[in-house]
C-alpha cells in the first residue's frame, strides 16, 4: 500500500469510528453519567444510600420489570416517538421546530372532534379517519409556521413558540364551546371519544389494568415510513440536502420554500398523530393539559436519537421507561418524581454537548480526527 492509501484507510476508519462514537457512545455515556449525577443529587439532598439503591431498583423494575411496567413504558413512549420522529424530520431539513406541543394539541383536538361528531360510523372507518384528522390538524397548524418562514423569513423557533401559546389558549376556548364541551360540566373538558374511535387496548384479556394500546403499531409503522422517506425518497434527499446546505440545495434546483413548508407539515402531521394517539388511546377525551409537555420532551428524544428514526425509537423507549419507572421510584422509595426530570435534563445537557462528554470521559474516544493530521 502506498502512503496515500494508508492515509485514506486510516481516515475512513476514523470517520467510521467518529460516527460510532457520536451515534452510540455519547448517548450511552450521557445516560450513565446522568444516572450517576442523579444519585449524587439525591445524596446532596440527604437521601441515604440505601434509598438511592432502592430507587434505582424501582426505576428498573417500574420500567421493564413486569408486564404492567412494560405496558406503561410503551404507553408513555408511543407519543414521544411519534412527535420525536416529526421533530427529527424537521431537524434534518434544518428547521428547529419547537412547536410539537401546539401541534399535538391541535391534532388531538381534531381527532376528538372528528371522533364524537361521526360517532355513528363503524370502527373500521371511524378510527382511521379520526387518526387522519389528527394528522391533518397537526400538519395544517405546523404549516402556518412553515409558510410564514418561507414567505417572510420569520424564524421558525419564534413562530412555533408563539403558536404553542396560541394553541394552549385556543384549546381552552374550544373546550368551553357548547358543541365540544361535555354536557353538564362547567370546566373545559371535551365530550368523550366514542368507543368505535378508540385505539383498542391490546392486553386487557390478561389483566384489565394493562393500558398498552394499538398506538404501538402506529409508532413502529411511523419509524419505518420516516426512515424510508428520509433515506430512500427524493423528498427526503431534498430535506437533508437543504438541511446541510440550503444555498447549495437551492442552486441544485430545489425549491426551498416548498421544502420548508412540506418539512414543517410532515413534522406537524406526526406530532398531530401523537396527539390523536393520546386522546384516542389513553385519555378518551380532551382536557386543557392533555399535551402534558410531550412536545417538549420529544425535542429531547429527537436530539438523543440523533434525528435518526431508529435512534428516536430507542430514545423514546428510554424516556418512556424513565417516566414509567419514575412513578415506581416515587411509590417504592418516596423519591420525588421531579428527580426524573433532573435526570432527563442532565441527559440532554450531555447530549447537547458531546465535547463535554468527551472531555469528562476521555477514555473510549479516539482523539478528534483533526488533531491527528
Amino acid at each position: 500500500m502506498t502512503n496515500e492509501t494508508t492515509d485514506r484507510v486510516v481516515k475512513a476508519k476514523l470517520i467510521g469510528r467518529t460516527d460510532f462514537e457520536d451515534m452510540i457512545l455519547v448517548p450511552v455515556i450521557a445516560v450513565v453519567a446522568a444516572l450517576l449525577l442523579g444519585a449524587l443529587t439525591m445524596l446532596l439532598t440527604n437521601v441515604d444510600l440505601a434509598t438511592i439503591v432502592r430507587s434505582y431498583v424501582a426505576l428498573a423494575v417500574g420500567s421493564f420489570g413486569s408486564l404492567n411496567a412494560l405496558s406503561e413504558t410503551l404507553t408513555a413512549a408511543t407519543p414521544l416517538v411519534l412527535a420525536g420522529l416529526g421533530l427529527a424530520l424537521g431537524f434534518r431539513a434544518g428547521l428547529f421546530n419547537i412547536g410539537a406541543e401546539g401541534q399535538i394539541l391541535m391534532g388531538g383536538m381534531a381527532a376528538v372532534i372528528f371522533g364524537f361528531s361521526f360517532a355513528g360510523l363503524p370502527s373500521a372507518i371511524l378510527l382511521p379517519l379520526s387518526l387522519l384528522a389528527g394528522v391533518l390538524g397537526g400538519a395544517l397548524y405546523a404549516s402556518i409556521a412553515g409558510w410564514l418562514r418561507a414567505t417572510t423569513g420569520a424564524h421558525e423557533v419564534i413562530l412555533t413558540i408563539m403558536l404553542n401559546s396560541i394553541a394552549y389558549r385556543l384549546v381552552d376556548f374550544m373546550l368551553s364551546m357548547p358543541a365540544i364541551q361535555k354536557a353538564g360540566r362547567a370546566d373545559p373538558i371535551s365530550k368523550p371519544v366514542p368507543e368505535a374511535a378508540e385505539l383498542p387496548r391490546l392486553l386487557t384479556w390478561i389483566d384489565p389494568n394493562l393500558r398498552v394500546h394499538a398506538g404501538v403499531f402506529l409508532m413502529l409503522a411511523a419509524v419505518i415510513v420516516v426512515y424510508w422517506v428520509l433515506f430512500k425518497s427524493k423528498l427526503g434527499f431534498e430535506f437533508r440536502a437543504s438541511g446541510k446546505n440550503p444555498e447549495a440545495a437551492r442552486f441544485a434546483g430545489m425549491r426551498s420554500g416548498l421544502i420548508i413548508v412540506s418539512a414543517m407539515a410532515a413534522a406537524g402531521g406526526l406530532a398531530g398523530l401523537a396527539g390523536a394517539n393520546q386522546v384516542l388511546g389513553v385519555l378518551g377525551r380532551a382536557t386543557p393539559g392533555f399535551s402534558a409537555g410531550i412536545g417538549f420532551t420529544a425535542i429531547s428524544v429527537a436530539l438523543l436519537g440523533r434525528s435518526h428514526p431508529v435512534g428516536v425509537l430507542i430514545a423514546g423507549l428510554l424516556f418512556g421507561a424513565l417516566e414509567a419507572g419514575g412513578r415506581q421510584m416515587q411509590v417504592d422509595a418516596g423519591v420525588s418524581i421531579d428527580l426524573i426530570s433532573i435526570i432527563q435534563a442532565l441527559i440532554i445537557v450531555f447530549i447537547a454537548a458531546p465535547l463535554l462528554v468527551r472531555a469528562i470521559f476521555p477514555w473510549g474516544f479516539r482523539k478528534a480526527a483533526g488533531s491527528r493530521e
Partner: protein, 342 residues
C-alpha cells in the same frame, strides 16, 4: 475518614430502614394520588396528605403518595398503586373522578376513597368525601364585606368545577347577605353565582397567575381577595405582602394558611378550612376496622368538616359586634334558619 464513616453509618441506617420498611409493609398501607398542585401546596393536596400522616402517627400504618404532574398522569398513577400493596387508595380532587371510577370498576376488590367527588349511583368500593364548603365561605363573605374599606371584594378560581365554585358561591352570597342586613352595597368581583361565570386561571399550579389575577382585582378596587386555586393563591399572598395588608388582604382556602404558609402568614384575614385531614383519617380508620362502605361522607359546619379559621394577627380589625354577628349566622346556618343555597 469522618466522611466515610458517616456515609457508612448512613448506609447502615438505610439498610435498617429498608428492613423495617419491609416489616411495616405487612401493616395497613394507605396510598394517595394527588392532583397537579403537588403534595406541598400549603392547601388542598397537603391537607389531604396530612390525614394519612396523622394516621401514620396514630396507628403506625405505612403511607405513600404519588404526585400527578399533569392531568394525563391520573390514570397511570392510580394504575401503579394497584396490585395489592395498598389497602386503601385515596385520590385527591374532583378532576380524578373519572379515573377513580374506571379503576374502581375494573378492580372491585380494591378499596378507594376520593376527596371532593361523589358518585351517583354510589360505587360499592368507593367512599366519596364531600364538603358543604359554601357554609364556611358564606361566613367568609360576610366577614370580608364587614372588614372591607373599599366596599369591593375579589374572588377567582382555579378551574370552573363544582368543588371550586362552591367556595365562590358561598362567598358571594355571604357578602350579599351582609348587604341585605346592613343596606350596604359591597360588590364581589370575579364571580356571578347566577350565571356561574367568573375569573379562572385554568390551572392549579401557576403562582404567576395568582399574582396577576389578584393584581387585576386590586386594580379594580378590591381590598380583600379570595383565591380558590390551591398553591396559585400563594402568588396572590406575595402581592399582598408587597402592597401591604392595609391595601390588600387574602383569604386562604382548604387549610388554615396562617399555619401552612408561615412566611406570608400576616396577609391572611382568615381561611375557609376544609378538614380533609380529618375525613381522610376517618376513612382510613374505617378501612382498618372493617366498617368501610361505599357511599359519601359529608363535611359541614355542623360536624366541623368545614369552618372559618381564626383571624390571628388581624383579630383587631374584626369588631366585636361583627364577631357576634358571625357567631349568630354560624348558628343560623347550622339550624337551617339562614339558607346558604337559594
Amino acid at each position: 475518614m469522618s466522611v466515610s464513616t458517616t456515609a457508612m453509618k448512613r448506609f447502615g441506617a438505610g439498610i435498617c430502614a429498608w428492613f423495617s420498611a419491609a416489616s411495616i409493609a405487612m401493616a395497613f398501607s394507605a396510598c394517595e394520588v394527588t392532583d397537579t398542585g403537588g403534595i406541598d401546596d400549603n392547601s388542598f393536596n397537603q391537607t389531604a396528605w396530612k390525614g394519612v400522616l396523622d394516621a401514620q402517627e396514630k396507628h403506625n400504618i405505612s403511607g405513600r403518595f404519588l404526585e400527578s404532574q399533569a392531568e394525563t398522569d391520573y390514570e397511570a398513577n392510580i394504575n401503579s398503586l394497584l396490585g395489592g400493596e395498598c389497602d386503601l387508595i385515596i385520590t385527591v380532587g374532583f378532576l380524578l373522578g373519572d379515573a377513580t371510577k374506571s379503576a374502581a370498576e375494573t378492580n372491585p376488590e380494591q378499596k378507594f376513597s376520593i376527596v371532593d367527588y361523589s358518585y351517583d349511583p354510589a360505587i360499592a368500593n368507593v367512599l366519596g368525601q364531600i364538603y358543604a364548603t359554601d357554609e364556611a365561605a358564606f361566613l367568609a363573605g360576610y366577614l370580608a364585606a364587614g372588614v372591607s374599606k373599599t366596599g369591593v371584594l375579589g374572588v377567582f378560581g382555579g378551574i370552573n368545577i363544582p368543588t371550586v365554585t362552591v367556595f365562590m358561591d358561598g362567598f358571594s352570597r355571604g357578602a350579599a347577605y351582609y348587604n341585605a342586613q346592613k343596606g350596604t352595597n359591597v360588590m364581589v368581583l370575579g364571580w356571578d353565582p347566577e350565571t356561574k361565570e367568573g375569573l379562572f386561571t385554568n390551572n392549579f399550579d401557576s403562582l404567576d397567575d395568582g399574582r396577576a389575577f389578584a393584581q387585576n382585582l386590586y386594580d379594580e378596587g378590591a381590598d380583600i381577595v379570595l383565591p380558590v386555586a390551591g398553591p396559585v393563591g400563594l402568588g396572590s399572598a406575595a402581592l399582598a405582602d408587597e402592597l401591604g395588608t392595609d391595601k390588600l388582604k387574602i383569604i386562604g382556602v382548604d387549610a388554615d394558611l396562617y399555619f401552612t404558609d408561615t412566611e406570608k402568614q400576616h396577609v391572611y384575614l382568615t381561611s375557609i378550612t376544609k378538614q380533609m385531614d380529618a375525613t381522610v383519617l376517618q376513612v382510613i380508620e374505617s378501612a382498618m376496622d372493617g366498617t368501610f362502605k361505599g357511599g359519601n361522607l359529608l363535611g359541614s359546619l355542623a360536624n366541623g368538616g368545614v369552618d372559618l379559621a381564626p383571624f390571628h394577627d388581624m383579630d383587631a380589625l374584626v369588631s366585636d359586634s361583627l364577631k357576634q354577628e358571625l357567631a349568630d349566622i354560624r348558628q343560623g346556618i347550622i339550624d337551617g334558619a339562614i339558607p346558604v343555597r337559594p
